[in-house]
Symmetry: C2
Subunit: 340 residues, 2 copies
């Protein structure tokens, strides 16, 4: 089969790779209908994370089940499925508490190599959720978004306790931040403030439900949030970047007793204890347990209550994956969809 | 009047100080019935925090109202009152959300100098709570504890979401940690694990409700908590020390999706973002909004449902404050009560 492989920073190639097959009785093999490039794929692409030899890329996916192992019970060949980027058994105590990304049997980064024609999904029963039927073509991008960026933005908004009567601020106008806006709107937030300097992203944020846009960053941006909130700061802040600056901006923009939901993968972040202590905020985040939210998100997409697929502003055949990476790296695209 | 003043590290003196008087119409002046030495008083006493000239000491207090300003409505001369160590108006949006230590009109460290015969309490209506009557003498230590250490341990247990069915671990066997144990028990925790190497503190912890004692620290201590919890870690961890080691121990001892409530005042703490991110815990804490809990705590003490006054293992006349500091510094006492 064909699949995208990162050989070195900036060097993604689509090449022949071995067909995945059932290795464990709990596996499934799916034929990918759509995959995409994640913001986190850009870390190794940009050389910020080390590349350890040729790496098959991609962990967001929707597809049709080709084959299942002998222990698989809840999905079957022919079904259209959405998965999450950590394989989980969905039965352990941690999964039952809603933290499938920390499942005692989790397989992080599984599947490896979903930017491909086929993928092996471990722990299929706990990882995949079947849709009610074969989706219309226009629903595919939304379902694909559910697999990571929507699930992650949703978790951030839930972790930030976005809800009725609340002012929610969103740090980061990438796909996750934008879908954090959509999530905050769905969760009933009264006011949604997005930090963004890009007109196209501001527009999409407003379509997803943002009521205010702030173009300043850092202390200035924080001051503007406070101005909008009677000097107090937002009740809820979604952090979807993962840098020292964005984390501190998120904490400072939150009122005492408020909640920060952070999902940007931390790179060289070190939180000063005293500042955190005297901020009085709640802090929660980490790798999003997308699996917790999948049934609800699939339902919202299926009934066309939300259209998260709009974050994909570039759609290319799998063979053009290198161009998808370049477009995201150069910020010409918010999020690129690949069709195998 | 007489009051304790810190002149330099290790140099506390009880000396003549001006009688406090009403300065604002929202003030009250109280005659102290009991005061005490706080763990946080030891930071400047030990020279870890700078001492900026002679400093009147003490911020935990119970007493009888002597005089109130013209705007004070809820307390009156002759009433026995318990206060909190941050003066707050208790009417602003932040106070109403339960974060009185972050009140928009807060006065941190007010009163200054409660290790004295009298103290001025700003924002008396929002800061003081009157007891149902004059307390029996044996209730005074408990009511004094409510003013800081109990309120702080209670907040930590609430922030850690201690409750029925939960395993709670407590890092720190000082007065706050021990009262965190008592709080966790009252909140219905199923199992309460305390980290302690001191036999007398272990004994008090068990009397307050601890079910297990761990004498190891750091990674070894974490491993023991995991062993007690099927490899998962505690649901709730109270952090009552405030060092880098104790914060990391608390985070690592908590299961993914669990809650850390931290109330140790952070000194040179810097939290590694990546470790926090992948821990998946909730983190909440800071200076405890004791005022939120005072009515409930006073009721529990008044009805003798709890006896937090047992953390005081040394009681001295105010004039012997220097010995109280020495005893706590040298760990000969958990907590010293002073009678003016």
């Amino acid at each position: 089969m064909r699949g995208a492989v990162l050989h070195a920073p900036g060097d993604v190639r689509v090449e022949d790779r071995p067909d995945p097959r059932i290795e464990q009785p709990t596996d499934a093999v799916i034929r990918l209908v759509a995959a995409c490039v994640c913001g986190s794929d850009l870390w190794p692409y940009r050389g910020i994370e080390a590349v350890d030899g040729p790496s098959p890329m991609g962990h967001e996916y929707v597809g049709v089940v080709e084959e299942v192992g002998s222990d698989v019970r809840t999905v079957q060949p022919g079904q259209f499925v959405v998965g999450s980027f950590f394989a989980s058994d969905n039965t352990c105590e941690i999964c039952r508490a809603g933290y499938q990304t920390h499942c005692v049997n989790r397989q992080p980064g599984a599947p490896t190599g979903a930017q491909a024609q086929f993928a092996r999904i471990p722990l299929a029963d706990g990882t995949l959720v079947a849709t009610p039927g074969m989706p219309d073509d226009d629903l595919v991008p939304g379902l694909l978004a559910a697999s990571d960026v929507l699930g992650t933005g949703w978790f951030a908004a839930v972790a930030a306790e976005a809800g009725p009567g609340k002012t929610v601020a969103v740090v980061g106008d990438g796909a996750v931040g934008l879908l954090g806006v959509l999530a905050a709107r769905q969760l009933g937030a009264e006011r949604i403030v997005v930090f963004s300097r890009h007109e196209d992203r501001q527009r999409l944020a407003r379509e997803f439900g943002a009521t205010d846009v702030i173009t300043s960053r850092g202390d200035e941006g924080v001051a503007e949030v406070k101005e909008l909130t009677g000097g107090l700061g937002a009740h809820s802040v979604v952090e979807a970047v993962g840098t020292q600056e964005s984390m501190l901006q998120a904490i400072r923009a939150t009122r005492a007793g408020g909640h920060v939901g952070y999902v940007g993968v931390s790179h060289d972040v070190s939180l000063p204890g005293e500042q955190l202590f005297f901020s009085g905020v709640h802090l929660h985040g980490g790798p999003a347990p997308v699996r917790r939210f999948l049934p609800e998100l699939i339902d919202l997409i299926w009934t066309r209550a939300i259209d998260p697929g709009r974050v994909f502003d570039l759609s290319l055949p799998l063979e053009e994956a290198p161009e998808a990476y370049r477009a995201m790296d150069e910020r010409r695209a918010v999020k690129a969809l690949l069709r195998p």
